[in-house]
Symmetry: D2
Subunit: 226 residues, 4 copies
């Protein structure tokens, strides 16, 4: 009896000293994620939400976003920038540049290669016992009359991500879907930006709050489930 | 009584001597229109429809489509290929290459230049007292899950055409709209072609019949109206 | 004798009253020409050269450059922006955007359409008895190891311009050729900009001086010849 | 005398038992390499050259080319298609699609990613003690007046390959250089294809012979050296 209590006490003490008890979540993505750690970014907002809910002792949030990144850039830097941080959870948010660079510089990613490298990224993470969450690419343009030039491809690559998620048992944070719904309800003037984005792609204040909530909703439901 | 018969006789005689009594309709466009004069093409089908309705003495249908044409190609050859034929009506169907060439060869048409050249084409035709009908570009891909890569731009350029039509008092044959509706109803399997097109763009048998009817519907209603 | 002196006197008097005696030169082009009228621009520099040579009473120089223009933009605004100014000479400098927009926005100009619209522009100017001078596009990148991405197309479109010039009896200011030669001699470090351009395309101080001299050389030789 | 015969016998026996005595060379690349194993392909021609020189017992040549491949496609299939074959030598010939796809489908490879994946491929091969030979991309168009549209980028990516080769101690078969030299000497009519290629990219009979000799020259000199 005494022995057990001592062990328990020790465990409690250790856990309060060790950061191992904090779940480490790394956000892995492009410029949108890179901006997420800014003072008004969605990662910062998630930290603030957790503080309010007194959950900040349970989670440690880290950004690993680099501007211009496509899926194969994530693959190329996964060891150094993600695995080295020994995360418990990784939230991948990528795809905008894979589609957009087709038009802007001729160096977008073929759909089939997008899938192959995405699977390779997940495989590496899951091999390290990391829980992987996938986000669909939110938007390149917020117009609601179906005239955003790259919507077709964004929808296609989002479908690929949804299918990858299913095949790999990863929860999806379907930002593509939730951005469209939000815009249909709130962008009656058919603006190309200014609703959730500042420039068709990157999040404005409202966008950062929206994304923080969307990601939290899914993360929290999964954590509760497990 | 006698006078009337004489007048009638004269009218019949005149009409048989002069082809001026036939309304000449020129179809002005790209490869889709070029294929329209083939044995199963939509222009040929319209001729057959008119024969059945005994209206073929009233109309003369001519094709003026050239593969790969964009709006500024139409502008460059309008004198020779259209005005020289002294048509009463011109049906313009263009836009697929203006959008598609952005991706296939980097030589699509800027939206604002598309509008400028389209207006210049209409101005030239209307200055020659020609009735001008505008078609919106039907499709580049028939998928119904909003993943056709070029849908965003096709919708945008269709909007431009609808607006040009309004500003110039031209009836619109809204093939973009009617193709989408037909596919939503008939392409449950989300195929990229094979419903109204053979290859995502060019008309198959069913597509030619569909287009012949859509154009006839608008042409006939306008003729009846006037 | 008396008659002749009177006529001469009259001519002198008229020329001092009328600005018609000044040869009006309009520079017709894109952003490079648009910047030419700035305080350090090549058109301003040409004016200063003429003042030094006491030739400024003979020439009037006007800019008609608009950022982003391709050959068909020149065509679309030629009446308003050039013919309305009743120039004696027009110097056309275009081509960089026709090539570059293929890559940057998918809306470059097909080589055969480039030729057609260029010929149409010249035809309109020559029909108004205007002397037309053609410039080849100078550079998109100044590297001297043949790795500027768009050199192949720039060379191709320059060849088209040289051929158009020949067919229409227009003098050529071959900036493509003279920029290459200048860079081979002065850009030993293989820099992509900073020799004659500030940003691979637009002229720096040295570039503006260089272009002013190159244009003047050809203009002056033609004027002397005639 | 007896000793020698015994040794010879042993050698013959050993060589018939072990395929280790044959140097296995795998050609790793795109459609050009894929066509290399055809009856008139350059790999087949190299086999025939070796037979003539009685060297075919020393070498085993295998093709591993797949149409449309870019450097990251090679990376994705290296384990299965190359390492599994346990080669002694790998000849990498890639780059045409990395450049060309920028224009044809918007999915070319960024220069810096090209370098990263190329280095990753070499690292994997060298870790398996394989000798790696690099080819520069030969041509997309054979024009000799510097108007091939993609020459700038082909030269840039060839420079990257030359630099990678140097850094990794890999011999280079500089096909870009040798094709240019051959064309300058033999393509006086400035044809875009028909000299060493059938279609600007893929080898014709003469091209296959030329490439077989160029590769052999370098392979043989290295083998002799070692």
């Amino acid at each position: 009896m005494k022995l057990i209590s001592c062990t328990l006490l020790l465990a409690v003490l250790l856990s309060s000293f060790s950061h191992q008890t904090k779940k480490r979540i790394v956000f892995f993505g492009d410029s949108i994620t890179q901006a997420g750690v800014q003072p008004t970014g969605f990662i910062t907002k998630m930290k603030q939400m957790m503080e309010k809910k007194k959950m900040d002792s349970q989670y440690e949030l880290m950004g690993a976003g680099i501007s211009g990144n496509k899926i194969y850039d994530l693959y190329l830097r996964i060891d150094e920038d993600v695995l080295a941080k020994k995360p418990d959870v990784v939230v991948i948010w990528v795809g905008v540049n894979d589609v957009w660079h087709k038009q802007s510089s001729g160096t977008g990613t073929d759909a089939d290669k997008f899938e192959k490298f995405y699977n390779a990224v997940i495989k590496k993470l899951q091999a390290a016992n990391i829980s992987v969450y996938l986000c669909t690419p939110a938007a390149i343009g917020e117009k609601t009359d179906f005239t955003n030039q790259l919507d077709g491809d964004l929808n296609k690559y989002s479908n690929i991500i949804r299918s990858i998620a299913k095949n790999n048992n990863c929860p999806v944070i379907d930002l593509r879907k939730s951005f469209l719904e939000y815009n249909l309800a709130n962008n009656k003037e058919n603006k190309e930006s200014g609703i959730l984005t500042s420039d068709k792609v990157h999040l404005n204040e409202q966008g950062n709050t929206f994304v923080a909530r969307e990601i939290w909703k899914v993360l929290n439901s999964m954590v509760t489930k497990n």
